[in-house]
Amino acid sequence: MSPRPAYAADRLAFLLSVVPYLIDHPGVTVADAAAHFGLTPAEMQAQVERITGMGVPGATKTYGPEDLFDIDWDALDTEGRIYITNRVVIDDAPRFSAREAAALIAGLQYLQSVPGSSDSAVLAGLIAKLARGASAVPPSVAIDRGAADGALAVVRDAIAAGIRVEFDYLNARGERERRPVDPLRLESRDDVWYLRGWCQLRGDVRVFRVDRMENLRPTDVPAEHTPDEIALSETLFDPSAADLVVEVRLAESAIPAFAEYLSDDAKLEPDGDGFVRTSIRVAHFHTLKRVAGTMAGLLTVLGPPEARRAVADWAAAGAARYRTAGAEDG
């Protein structure tokens, strides 16, 4: 992977964007401009001062005062307001790059499955605008419209209204329970949606797959815990001390597909024939047996023995169905 000069590129994009913003908003306060671009007022002031030193080489091939941006320094010093008094060349925001437009368009198409954003006329209009606002034709990127899950809308409205929801939940062990939950945030990973919420039964934040919820209902009970009060981590599943450590043998070619189970510091030791050995952490074997079942020939659990047995029994029970079914057919 080549190192990307993300910082310099971001700063150039900022300079090209803040100038038209300041031109369009004469007299904006340093504080407001800073908030708009996510900077501190001191940072914004420093950026504005820096812009005043820049411009174009003039008729004499040197930078004269008339060739540089300038501002009303009195207004800045006494009122904290920014007025551009001499502007150079640029008036409007830059276009999007083809890749920026393509990524935004793909993101918008993905959002078509999210209730609350599903006004397809608005989305289609936005997508057309982005394609037109790019400096080159964006690469062809498209996403099919998956069926929106009605449960998402119920949970989303409950978050907005600050009320508790209840649903029957089937966990990976196959156990079903009615769970009263204060909903905090709806998250997705590709096509799978998760609710992060405060579970009243467990007295802690839990993650629920939306497609495992049944009989979902909003209650009339106000939520005790709200998104402002509970800071959620960026990662969906946090490692816990109760996790089980499992040794696996994995085809190198399957590492990308298995990446979400590997920790960032996972050691991958070569094990011959294009395989590696590593250890992973799982909450319980029930998740593991399902994953292992989808990766026949690519993933083998090496230990502990209970983990191997859980996988073998699960697969054997599946295979046995075919022998029974065959007998029934006569």
Partner: protein, 331 residues
Amino acid sequence: MPRIVPPEERQFALVLALLATEQGLTKEQILSTVDGYHQKYDPNGDNANLERQFERDKDALRELGIPLETVDAPGEPGNNQLQSYRVSKGDYELPADITFTPTELSLLQLAGTVWREGSLSGDMRRAMIKLRAAGVEPDGSMLGYAPRLKQLEPAFAPLTQAIERHEAVTFPYLRPGRTTARRHTIKPLALFQFRGRWLFMGLDGAGRKLNFLLSRIVGDVVSTRERFDPPAGDHSTEALRELEELWQRNTATVAVEPGSDAAMRLGRRYGGTTPDGRLLVVHYSDLALLADELAGFGPEVTVIEPDQVKQAVLSRLEATEWAHRDREGAA
């Protein structure tokens, strides 16, 4: 000592100079006058380092979507030294009629966060900075959602770039159902997501259209630098439509254990079960992928027909059991 000009200031000065010129500036003119270059320019000496700097800055501008034009000197086509550079204002600026409402901005912000983890996150950050130029504040209408396109697949960025530049790519690919990867060289045409999976479509050496799953690309996607002329058409929409047709055509009937994870998840994904809740018709675009998914459900799913899906699932279950059962007498 001349002041050291930070890279973004030098590049900003370059953009301004290129926008300001009508007829273009030669490399010589740029290096000798533009802020950040002229301080290091030696009128009598070797400016090789500075020239390399200029080449890198041109790439940086193009990365940001700034449409840099090169103009040949009259009567001297292809002469690098006499070529001049400019940026047309009309091609640089966002058209004046493109504006965004607060609700649209909220949507765009959410669309941007979808890429938070991947190799496009830098592009997204810069797109968000550009969006702020208009001064519109989002209305907060999309709070409460944190959608992510996981995009573990590092192939996404090199593929979008290759599609944009019409360059062939080479990459190792693990076909579903196989255990060893094979290298392919493909002219990529379209990138798309189908039923939660990222795919790309391209032409092989014989001009056949092939689909590849990004998650099965098991090494770096490398451009061959070989350019091609893409056939006309909206390739991603067409590829999606063809895959959808295939998906509608391919069906398997499975029995699901009532109340199980399989019954719930497959039921939601593929629509209703039969009245007794036991039989379910599932669609698929790739037999091996379907068999992988069904085998993960163990005893919760039994394939009724067709036979080839049944055999594929059973052989996976048997292989998994065999690999995990400790045999008596084994060391």
